[in-house]
């Protein structure tokens, strides 16, 4: 069992009468000649690392290797603790986790690239927040990760997830599409709605450049993980409300890839333009 596009994935879901996550799990078992128990167990370990990387900086914030970030997640937590959050609980907690994972990553902590290290906060951020607020079991969260994996696989197969090739839209954009699709499945939406939500995120982050200060995975990466979560939540809400997208996922992915390859080299992880070359950034990274 394999699929090469979102269209084929949807046809498989229809034919087998099952979810995206189930198709992805069966694919993994068949192509890699392994068992459900083994892949579920491996994914449970992924979830465990995600959770610990999302919560550690709330207890003990650490300064990043490049010194540009550190302590942001704890500030968000304290802000909400005073009852001052304006985002609503689900989004607030999701962005806090996403920001925390960016901190863990930048301080040489253990994370899961999802699909990259720079965008690692988006998928777990949103899923862990939903788990807390909707009392979702770990088993169902593992399912959601297989769903997210299906979307990320399509991006790796048919486009790119490398900032150096396609800009931040390929990293945080794809991570947001993965999170949105997984969220739709988790909240009871259909496979069509899930991939519609994925398409929406790619659309709304289309053209986002990769311009890290000093070439380091710190800033603006951390902010963009928070933005990725918000975009995913917005897209999932649209899809679950029954809003249909005019552009299917496969076409948005193609477009994202084309836009990415058309970006000037300076805006693809080289730190030669964008945020990286603003006067304030140059002053900060003079030592690197």
């Amino acid at each position: 069992m394999d699929f090469k596009s979102a269209k084929e994935l949807l046809a498989l879901c229809q034919q087998e009468q099952c979810s995206i996550s189930e198709i992805m799990r069966r694919r993994e078992c068949e192509l890699f000649e392994t068992t459900r128990d083994i892949v579920n167990h491996r994914m449970a370990r992924v979830l465990e690392i995600m959770r610990s990387s999302a919560t550690q900086p709330l207890k003990s914030p650490a300064k990043s290797m490049g010194g540009l970030i550190g302590g942001e997640a704890k500030k968000l937590s304290e802000h909400a603790g005073k009852g001052k959050s304006i985002c609503g609980e689900v989004l607030h907690e999701a962005m806090m986790y996403a920001v925390a994972i960016a901190e863990t990553n930048a301080s040489m902590g253990l994370i899961v690239a999802a699909p990259t290290a720079g965008s690692a906060g988006v998928v777990p951020g949103l899923l862990l927040s939903l788990q807390n607020h909707y009392k979702i079991s770990d088993d169902r969260l593992v399912d959601a990760l297989f769903n997210a994996g299906a979307v990320g696989y399509l991006a790796m197969r048919n486009a790119t997830v490398a900032g150096a090739v396609g800009g931040c839209q390929a990293e945080v954009g794809v991570a947001g599409a993965m999170a949105a699709c997984a969220t739709v499945e988790l909240m009871g939406g259909t496979p069509e709605q899930g991939l519609g939500a994925g398409s929406t995120v790619l659309m709304n982050l289309l053209g986002l450049v990769c311009d890290p200060i000093g070439g380091l995975v710190e800033y603006p990466c951390q902010n963009r993980n928070a933005a990725g979560v918000a975009n995913a939540l917005v897209a999932a809400e649209l899809a679950l409300s029954g809003v249909q997208q005019l552009i299917p996922f496969d076409e948005m992915l193609d477009t994202m890839y084309t836009v990415g390859r058309g970006m000037p080299l300076e805006l693809r992880e080289t730190a030669l333009a964008g945020c990286a070359t603003t006067p304030s950034a140059c002053a900060l990274c003079g030592g690197h």
């Binding site: 394999d2 992805m24 799990r25 694919r27 993994e28 192509l31 890699f32 892949v39 491996r42 994914m43 370990r45 992924v46 690392i49 990043s64 290797m65 490049g66 863990t104 990553n105 930048a106 301080s107 040489m108 902590g109 253990l110 994370i111 899961v112 690239a113 999802a114 699909p115 990259t116 290290a117 720079g118 690692a120 998928v123 990760l145 297989f146 997210a148 994996g149 299906a150 990320g152 696989y153 790796m156 197969r157 997830v161 490398a162 150096a164 993965m178 000093g214 070439g215 380091l216 995975v217 710190e218 690197h288």
Partner: protein, 222 residues
């Protein structure tokens, strides 16, 4: 074409901050250490391209040293690898090279010396997403990834050596996935690199080493 696994998407499990500059660096050094007899006493890392420019902020230096000490990409000890190397009596040095730009952006030369005084230099490239390959051993251009069980035979470039290698592998029921021969120049040192499906049988290096004109045999298991 190899399939993309769900764990290539949600993975690798790694010490941050960068799959290419941190996880990939650790993976290259992890492979390199298997190409020289232990224990390694001294190592110099020559960094090129983006590695040379951003290695401190990406922890590339800690990751390389950690990988050389056998730490996997998800091993939290990578963070403290300087201290651990000091405790183990491994001396290390990092030399950024910004003059040679005719290399892949994320390239490192790892020059190792072991307790017996043997030296070995290995060049690796980090390709993104934690994927790496080794492209040079000493002065010879090679190519392998370490994703398969790998046999590296250092030999004299002369007739019969490859026949010996394939006979030993065949006698031990090893199925060859890829096999390539690389050489410095005619009649000099050559490397045969064999990648196989499944784990290699225990003790396979002994009969391989017994062949005439075989200098050394190294085994790398994924």
């Amino acid at each position: 074409m190899s399939y993309v696994s769900v764990f290539d998407v949600l993975g690798p499990n790694m010490i941050g901050p960068s799959s290419s500059h941190t996880a990939g660096a650790a993976a290259i050094a992890f492979l390199a250490r298997k190409i020289i007899a232990p224990p390694i006493k001294k190592v110099t890392f020559i960094l090129y391209g983006s590695f040379a420019k951003t290695y401190r902020g990406h922890g590339t230096d800690r990751a390389l040293l950690g990988g050389l000490m056998g730490f996997g990409t998800d091993d939290s000890r990578i963070r403290n690898s300087f201290q651990i190397a000091d405790e183990r009596g491994l001396s290390y040095e990092f030399k950024p090279c910004t003059t040679n730009v005719d290399v892949h952006p994320n390239t490192v030369d790892i020059c190792m010396e072991n307790a017996a005084g043997q030296t070995m230099t290995v060049r690796g490239e980090s390709l993104g997403g934690g994927k790496v390959h080794i492209v040079r051993i000493n002065e010879v251009e090679v190519e392998f990834t370490g994703q398969y069980s790998t046999v590296i035979v250092v030999q004299k470039d002369t007739p019969g050596v490859v026949a010996h290698i394939t006979k030993v592998l065949s006698d031990n029921n090893v199925n060859i996935a890829f096999m390539r021969l690389f050489r410095e120049s005619k009649g000099q040192t050559a490397y045969t690199i064999v990648e196989s499906d499944g784990k290699l049988p225990e003790g396979i290096s002994e009969p391989l080493r017994a062949g005439p004109n075989v200098h050394n045999v190294m085994i790398i298991e994924p």
